[in-house]
């Protein structure tokens, strides 16, 4: 808390203090609002399968029982919600509850160690992260309604974000693991905002523009989602690649309103295509395929389905789930990790203290107040480029500090992969360091 207070004083001394105070007040009110809503009288109905048709703004009650937190998934309908239990997870957990159940943190830490190979561990973690995902979706929906554009509703946002769980788990460093939920909340929110922005682009662009502005990764996913077989997807990707190489905007102002290649260019595209692959295809066919691809991109709204639970390549790797905390070694490891976290936080706190006050203020506003870069630019009367450059540099300095310490104290070799982890650790720590006490509490289990 000391850091938070210090920053707060720093800000009040600043010229922008008045506006800031209002922003802060607003944020506090939002947080309080979430809190009250979270304690909605329905909290008795928390158990699986109950569908409650209640009007907005009802929120699903918090799951109290630790085991429920690892076995149930939120099912959000248009005007209702329900916690649904995955029997397989319940059975799995039940096996180990007969022995002395370790604390929630130890379970989480245990699964974080093995989720990549252990399909059940991954599912338990996804279940565990339902609340932060829900609240991130709710916040994003508010943001969308404030005029960010896009037409996503809460249920869709929730689905989209859950799909990103793997990336979030991948980035999260369990060795710092004080608060996975708090970290995931921020990360989910960023994913959703990103998605909303992409969707806005999709809505504005013509089919031919959309095809140029889509990444290969996204197109591949969209075509899969569209139900096309892999061989067809391969073909479409080839046509798309040729199209994107050959057909370019003739006026830079019209990048979103492209009308497609002319007959001469279609001939060229088809010649290139036919040189790469057989059977050959006529321009009209190629054009048709690309329009199908554009439609697939438009229809592609990632959905998290139970299919994702049973990724075939993971199924074979399922081992018998080992209960955590049973071996003294694991307890020791958990303790070591906690010690590591304490030291790491100390390194970062020192590095942070050495940053110039203006940079600390920037971090406080960004991570603490949750202001967007545009809002920051307006508040500090700088342009957004400057803000983003300064944020990058601040984080860079913390990465340097953490890197030097990891290298000197822990003999960790600095590679691009490690840098990625260090960057994520810095983000995670900044998020937690600046998050207000209320927000932290929001995602912590009641014990």
């Amino acid at each position: 808390m000391a850091t938070w207070t210090a920053s707060w004083n720093g800000i009040c001394a600043n010229s922008a203090s008045c506006k800031l105070f209002l922003v802060e007040l607003h944020n506090l009110l939002v947080i309080l609002e979430i809190f009250q809503l979270e304690e909605y009288p329905n909290s008795g109905d928390k158990v699986s399968g109950t569908t409650c048709a209640i009007p907005v703004p009802a929120h699903p009650p918090k799951r109290q029982d630790p085991t429920t937190q690892f076995c149930t998934f939120l099912d959000i309908g248009r005007e209702s919600w329900a916690w649904r239990e995955e029997p397989r997870l319940r059975r799995n957990l039940a096996q180990y509850l007969s022995t002395a159940p370790p604390s929630l943190e130890v379970w989480v830490s245990h699964w974080l160690g093995g989720w990549r190979k252990d399909i059940l561990a991954r599912q338990h973690l996804i279940a565990y992260l339902q609340e932060p995902c829900y609240w991130a979706a709710w916040k994003t929906e508010q943001w969308v309604q404030r005029g960010a554009g896009g037409s996503y509703d809460l249920a869709e946002l929730f689905q989209i974000a859950l799909l990103k769980t793997d990336i979030i788990l991948h980035k999260y460093n369990p060795r710092l693991g004080s608060n996975l939920k708090g970290y995931a909340f921020q990360a989910f929110k960023n994913c959703m905002r990103d998605e909303v922005q992409k969707q806005t682009v999709v809505a504005l662009a013509s089919d031919w523009s959309l095809l140029r502005q889509t990444s290969r990764e996204l197109l591949t996913q969209a075509l899969r989602h569209h139900g096309l077989p892999e061989a067809t997807i391969h073909t479409y990707l080839l046509v798309w690649q040729i199209y994107r190489d050959c057909y370019v905007p003739r006026q830079p102002q019209r990048v979103t309103r492209l009308t497609g290649p002319d007959p001469v260019l279609w001939q060229t595209i088809s010649e290139r295509y036919n040189r790469e692959i057989s059977p050959s295809a006529q321009p009209a066919e190629l054009s048709q395929w690309l329009l199908v691809a554009a439609q697939a991109i438009r229809n592609f709204r990632p959905r998290f389905t139970s299919l994702d639970f049973h990724a075939p390549d993971q199924e074979s790797l399922v081992d018998r789930l080992v209960a955590p905390g049973s071996s003294p070694f694991e307890q020791l490891q958990y303790a070591t990790e906690q010690q590591y976290f304490v030291e790491l936080a100390q390194v970062l706190r020192q590095a942070l203290a050495q940053l110039p006050p203006a940079q600390r203020e920037l971090l406080e506003l960004y991570y603490g107040q949750g202001l967007g870069q545009k809002e920051l630019a307006r508040l500090l009367q700088k342009n957004q480029c400057t803000i983003s450059r300064q944020l990058t540099q601040c984080r860079g300095q913390l990465v340097v500090a953490l890197g030097q310490w990891s290298n000197a104290a822990l003999h960790i070799q600095i590679t691009p992969g490690v840098l990625k982890e260090l960057g994520a650790a810095v983000d995670q720590w900044l998020t937690e360091n600046y998050q207000s006490a209320q927000q932290l509490q929001e995602f912590s289990p009641d014990e």
Partner: protein
């Protein structure tokens, strides 16, 4: 309190605005480039460089762009820079994709320490640097996509954190893994091979995918042939023929590269009074020198001399001449074993023969050029 849809919230990415004036100006600059694909490619590359250059120069005020970018801009996506002794390649794209053209990875001289993924959102006038990778990563973890000859990394392997890039470039953190991975040398093309490739690729819409990569890469790696490819595709007349320069003055491109024709008076004390002298200013180790090429009775003389009156060329400087396909020949090297007022080489040449000159230490912004005789 309404955020526009274009707000980039990610603290790990770098955000830039594209000024409308700059956008229009860069577009205009390249309208002379014939076909639309070439125009677009040069436009996107140039615009990205113009927007990012001030940021790059904040890292290193002396940052250098790989010289004569237009010939490579028109055929490959990307711009190479030397920043604080390291090589960066900016890879612009219209979507959130990092697909690195094979040229930047597998041409040994073109490899870079860091590849930066840049998304150019023209509709919103925004540019975002959102990820980076090392050459080592691309070669060891990357996937190669043959239809487009690009390398890419899985989302989980890309470092989507520009703070981390800052840490290892501007900050004082050092990578414990090499940034570069070894790549095999490309075959050396003969002049005949190169000329036939140049002819074949002059009309092609996407020359980079037209011939096997080894041939294409070798052609492109050669500054003189890269320039010839560009000129051929633009339908320009011969620009580098010194006999032609003698008749009609230095060509427009020759002038653009710094060549001048000077008065012959300075040479009048020589026994043979030359008809004309072509001069190109050079900057070597922050000192001014000039390369002079002058016709002799039966051949040509190449001279390297300091600009300063009574200046000396320091010990260790080397002037060398090479055939068009970079082969040596008898007497092609002049070495300064002690400080000398001038280094020179006389050569007898066949009509139409091409010569590449080279100076060590390498002059600033040096790019191989083929002079024809």
């Amino acid at each position: 309190m309404s955020d526009s849809a274009s707000t980039f919230e990610d603290p790990t990415a770098l955000f830039f605005e594209i000024p409308a004036l700059l956008q229009a100006k860069v577009w205009q600059t390249h309208t002379v480039l014939g076909d639309s694909v070439t125009h677009w490619q040069a436009y996107l590359n140039d615009l990205t460089l113009q927007v990012l250059l001030p940021w790059v120069q904040a890292y290193d005020a002396q940052a250098q762009v790989m010289p004569q970018p237009l010939p490579y801009w028109t055929v490959v996506t990307g711009t190479a820079l030397t920043v604080a002794g390291q090589r960066w390649v900016l890879i612009p794209a219209e979507s959130d994709d990092l697909q690195v053209p094979q040229e930047w990875v597998d041409i040994p001289q073109w490899r870079a320490d860091y590849y930066l993924a840049v998304t150019v959102d023209l509709a919103q006038h925004q540019l975002r640097v959102w990820a980076w990778a090392t050459h080592h990563q691309l070669k060891t973890q990357g996937q190669y996509y043959s239809p487009d000859r690009t390398y890419s990394l899985h989302e989980l392997d890309l470092v989507t954190d520009l703070g981390a890039l800052w840490a290892v470039t501007a900050g004082c953190l050092t990578l414990d893994e090499p940034t570069l991975a070894p790549v095999p040398l490309l075959p050396v093309l003969t002049t005949t091979q190169a000329h036939s490739l140049l002819q074949r690729l002059a009309q092609s819409l996407l020359p980079r995918l037209e011939v096997p990569f080894a041939l294409w890469g070798s052609l492109l790696a050669h500054g003189g042939w890269r320039q010839a490819l560009y000129e051929g595709r633009q339908g320009l007349p011969e620009q580098w023929s010194l006999p032609q320069w003698l008749r009609g003055g230095v060509s427009p491109l020759g002038q653009a590269w710094g060549w001048l024709q000077v008065s012959v008076l300075a040479e009048s004390r020589d026994q043979e009074v030359p008809k004309a002298t072509f001069v190109r200013p050079l900057q070597i180790l922050n000192q001014e020198y000039e390369l002079r090429v002058l016709p002799l009775g039966l051949g040509w003389r190449f001279q390297l001399r300091p600009v300063l009156y009574a200046g000396q060329i320091p010990t260790g400087f080397v002037l060398s001449l090479w055939t068009e396909d970079q082969q040596s020949f008898a007497g092609n090297i002049a070495h300064a074993d002690a400080p000398v007022p001038v280094l020179y080489i006389d050569v007898a040449l066949e009509p139409g023969e091409g010569i590449i000159w080279q100076v060590e230490p390498t002059p600033a912004a040096y790019c191989q050029e083929i002079l024809r005789f």
